[in-house]
Symmetry: C3
Subunit: 140 residues, 3 copies
Amino acid sequence: MAAISGRPITIEVRSARHSQMINITAAVAAKVPDAYQGICHLFCLHTTAGLTINENADPDVVTDLLAELDRLVPWRQPHFRHGEGNSAAHVKAMLTGASVTVPVADGRLQLGVWQGIYFCEFDGPRNRTVALQLIPEPAP
Amino acid sequence: MAAISGRPITIEVRSARHSQMINITAAVAAKVPDAYQGICHLFCLHTTAGLTINENADPDVVTDLLAELDRLVPWRQPHFRHGEGNSAAHVKAMLTGASVTVPVADGRLQLGVWQGIYFCEFDGPRNRTVALQLIPEPAP
Amino acid sequence: MAAISGRPITIEVRSARHSQMINITAAVAAKVPDAYQGICHLFCLHTTAGLTINENADPDVVTDLLAELDRLVPWRQPHFRHGEGNSAAHVKAMLTGASVTVPVADGRLQLGVWQGIYFCEFDGPRNRTVALQLIPEPAP
């Protein structure tokens, strides 16, 4: 991504492990102006990482999510051809998706009570970037 | 989600089974004003449910979708740590995703012929809420 | 989808194989006006195909993605009930998702260095249609 005109806004994420779910909810909320109405679009600029929304309370949930992805998509498989050896991370990125969109009302992310926004690292540790855009919703 | 300023608009869903795909296309279409141009953004406010778009004709398709998710992500697994015991539902929510965006032209959802919008219940029965936003697309 | 008012814009895709990932990045970029700021919303109008973002460099990656989806969701399974026999394609469409949203700044798709936009055919060969919308992001 070329950083043109200062847009999109970016959030920098530093992962510490090979697979890791990093709660970025507070970093996202900090970029939303007061009284803003619309959607917040987040886009992961990488092909071995993703974004998802899931439970923000019990940390065992995200541990279980990563463990289950590992079980579903084992790291080493005889049919994988990609020379870098990280095809499993590419598959996990496809399954989680590169972007999330979150409603915003009166400047606040309109997440459910138990929802947090997670950056999903599948081939870390690395420095990662998430693009953030704010798209307004006109008054009805 | 705090209900501030009457936005986002919400759609209430009552699931009747533990796993269930509920066609909400008509409920969504009813919220779209005449002549509206843009996207309709739907956001599931829960972490054990999701939203997806799939076949609206043969009900066997959504039966097969749920059965295949059950096969891929069995409910009980020795590695799951989350105390509530519903980690499989959290995984399924991650795989389907929390939001869908649908094109709208002249006030009508621009779905393909065979497409319907489904609320995906993975840990019901429960009362659920979907947030709806309308983001305009200016004339080209 | 009814083609009303010339919107959404559409991109036509012709798949050549039963399962295939087709890089549509250039076709999408060609629809984005100069100096445009916002998001580009792409929506797949089919229930046995999807859209995803993944590596644009080594073609072995998308080969591995398709092979892994085939391993995860085998084509023939005794529990599938749908009479058309293509339930696996419907499952894959659910796992990849029907839409992607990409940031745009100064008229250019703001993809990461290794990212391309792919149409994912899961039950081809067929003629397919992707709807494209441009939603502006006002200056901050």
